[in-house]
Structure formats: structure tokens, C-alpha cells
Symmetry: C2
Subunit: 232 residues, 2 copies
């Protein structure tokens, strides 16, 4: 049996499917057997991550730990979590997981470094929870960039408005709001835009000045499992 990728998903459900599709697309394959086996726990009932970080909602940690236990019981070899905001609880999840968890912010920052020679200022689009946590900004600034985020009004109306529209299935309206948010960061001098919420790449594609953290995590998984394959 090939090593198996565990996915803690459902945050949201479409983002999980988008991540799986990216892993499949990035895997060099001539038929089914070449693909990475996956066990997926897609639990959309995990309480809202941003509400919890802002102190207005219950903790998502118990529900996420239940998913981590399920994946470990299924003997997965590594875990990916296609939700950036969930990484606020990364240390708590990693402590309870026998299988190592790949970190989406590490993956995104590696791609940022590879793709942005000469760029001094990076714009970040993510949930308000993720923005307030500062996790991405600290990592981006540690790479030698200045990091911009939308002002409070744009963050609420354009970014969170767009993200919740995706979760409700209204993709066209979501794309419009999120493109406006990206353009606002470009107008303020951002030479690259990091999509640090896995809902956003459902409506804005990686490429050009746009770096999709979901695609970066998928790439990290494919490289890890290809290496495990070569070693087997």
C-alpha cells in the first residue's frame, strides 16, 4: 500500500474538494494506481474559526481533534488541513497527531519566496481571524517583505463578505468582492497577493502576482508523497 494522505476538511466543504483536485492535478499519473491514496474527514460542523479567534464563538478545537483522531485511526502517513484559519490551532493539533501535519503557511511562504524576486510588498487576503492572529504577516515580514492587509471596512465587506458568499454557494458575487479587495492591495503597492483562506482560490486562480496557499499545500503534499514513494 502506498503511503496515505489524511485530510482534515470541511472548512469549508468546497475548499476541501478544491484541495483534493489540486493534489490530483499535480500528481504525475498515467492511471488511477499512480495517485496518492487519501482518507478525508470532511466535517463542516466544526465551529467557525474566525468567530472563535475574535472571542465571539465556541472553540473549533474539540471537533478538529476528533477529525485528527479519525485520520490517525485510519493510519494515514501525513495530514493536510485545507483551511488556513484552522492553523491558529496548529500546535494543539500537531501534539495530538501521530502523523505529521504539513503547515499551509510554510507551504505558501516557500512559494512566495520562489516566485517573487524583486517584490518588496506583499498583500494578504484571509479571514479576519487569520489577519488578527498575525500568523501570516509575521511569516511574510520575516521573509523580508512588507505586508499589507485590507483596512477594516474592506476586510469586513469585501473579504469576509466574499468568503461567506462562497460558503453559501454564490461564487459570482464572491469573485467580484474578492477581486475588489485584491485590487485595493495592488493600488496600495502590493507586488504579490497571497490568498491565505482556502475559500478564496475557489474563485481567484493562482498565477501572475497571485499565490494560492491551497495550491502551495497541494504541491508540498505531492512532493512529500512522491519522495516517500521513491524511498519505498
Amino acid at each position: 500500500m502506498k503511503p496515505t494522505l489524511g485530510i482534515l476538511g470541511g472548512m469549508g466543504p468546497l475548499a476541501t474538494v478544491d484541495f483534493m483536485r489540486k493534489v490530483i492535478d499535480l500528481t504525475p499519473a498515467t492511471g488511477d494506481q499512480d495517485h496518492i491514496p487519501m482518507v478525508v474527514a470532511s466535517i463542516p460542523q466544526v465551529p467557525d474559526r474566525t468567530a472563535a479567534i475574535l472571542g465571539s464563538g465556541e472553540s473549533p478545537l474539540p471537533a478538529m481533534l476528533e477529525g485528527i483522531r479519525l485520520l490517525n485511526q485510519a493510519a494515514v502517513d501525513a495530514v493536510a488541513i485545507p483551511c488556513n484559519t484552522a492553523h491558529y490551532w496548529f500546535d494543539d493539533l500537531a501534539r495530538e497527531s501521530r502523523a505529521p501535519i504539513l503547515h499551509i503557511v510554510d507551504a505558501a511562504c516557500s512559494v512566495l519566496k520562489e516566485r517573487t524576486r524583486g517584490v518588496g510588498t506583499v498583500g494578504f487576503l484571509g479571514t479576519t481571524g487569520m489577519v488578527k492572529s498575525g500568523i501570516y504577516q509575521r511569516r511574510i515580514e520575516a521573509g523580508g517583505y512588507a505586508c499589507l492587509t485590507p483596512d477594516e471596512a474592506d476586510q469586513e465587506k469585501l473579504v469576509m463578505g466574499g468568503i461567506y458568499k462562497i460558503k453559501a454557494g454564490d461564487l459570482a458575487a464572491a469573485r467580484d468582492l474578492l477581486e475588489q479587495a485584491a485590487d485595493g492591495l495592488r493600488a496600495r503597492g502590493a507586488g504579490a497577493i497571497v490568498l491565505g483562506c482556502t475559500e478564496i482560490p475557489i474563485v481567484i486562480a493562482d498565477g501572475g502576482d497571485v499565490i494560492d496557499a491551497t495550491l502551495a499545500l497541494a504541491g508540498a503534499c505531492v512532493r512529500r508523497f512522491a519522495a516517500a514513494d521513491a524511498a519505498a
Copy 2:
């Protein structure tokens, strides 16, 4: 916790993602929490189903049973298998599963009945294994239709050729081959075309005279889980 849908997938991997996406799209939802929780065992290493039915390959049953056990250990409430050909082993799988398995051929034939008033002849596109098994043809004919399948040369070159191109990721070439196969059945008098292999709807959409068994199974799951929700 809402009732959980188990998915035995990976046959192929893209077909599994297509099925999950269809379940999500068909679920009435205003946010993450409204969606159906899923546990997915995506095992692309399950031996080729058609080769086994034709007597030239090892049985996929042990690998599929391993997936069924994993889903039952995760306490899923019902199981869907987004691979038509896997349903050749339906009775063996159902016997080993505590959770009921929804049958994709039942789902497709229900939609066929709803959507094809006045149609006398139905064309079937599926793997050679599924065609040889006669499972779909018997069910379609029991509904009072005549059932057409491609001749042996078209079945091999257009249908299996197209399906294996999808599994290798070459979607444009696959679409061209499979559309030719559908047109051949229409030219012979088919008033409806059943896509009875979960790879095919990745490149040909449901609608008009085309009935997608994957979408039919997704619809059956959403109705079942919506009913469970209402009862809870």
C-alpha cells in the same frame, strides 16, 4: 453531530472529487454547517474493475472491503461508491457493511424514469466490464426501454479509450472520444444517454438527453441525508 456520508472512492480519484462536488452543490446551504459531513476513503490502488470482470486481472474486492471497513469504523450512516463498475460486487460489499450502501444503478434508473417520457430507446455508456455484466441493460430494459450499447470496436476505442484518458488527466481528448460514442448511439435511435461510468461526467455534463449516474447518486444521498436531518 449530523449523520455522516461515507464515500468509498478513488475509482478514479477525479470521479470521487466530482461526486463530492455534486453532493455539495445539491445541498441547500447558507453556510458550512448546513453541509453533509463526509468520511472519504479514496483508494486509487483498488485493482482495475473491468480487467477483473473480463477475467484478466486480480479481484478488487479485498481492497474495496478494506475501504468499507474503514468507513464503518468511522461510524458513517450510509455509504456511496462513485464507481459504477464497482457495483458488480455490490452484494459482497453490502454484506460486510453495517451502514447501508446506496446503489448507483437504482439512482440512475430513477432519474431515467423521471426524465424520459416518450423515449423508447436508451443508450448506455460505461466500462466494458459494466457492459459485459449486463447490470445496467437489465435494469433499463426492466423499465420498458430498449437498451443500446456501442459496438465492440467503438466500445474499445471510443469509450474505454476516453475513460483511460480521463484517468491519465487528458480531458480534452477524452471528451472528443466520448462525445463520438454518444453521437453513435443517438444515430442508432437512442433518445436518452445514460453515463454509467463516473469518469465520463467529468467531461460530459448532465442535461438534455444526457443522464449522469454520478449526479443521480449525489441527489439520492442529499435526499436521504436531508430526510435524516428532518427526523433528528
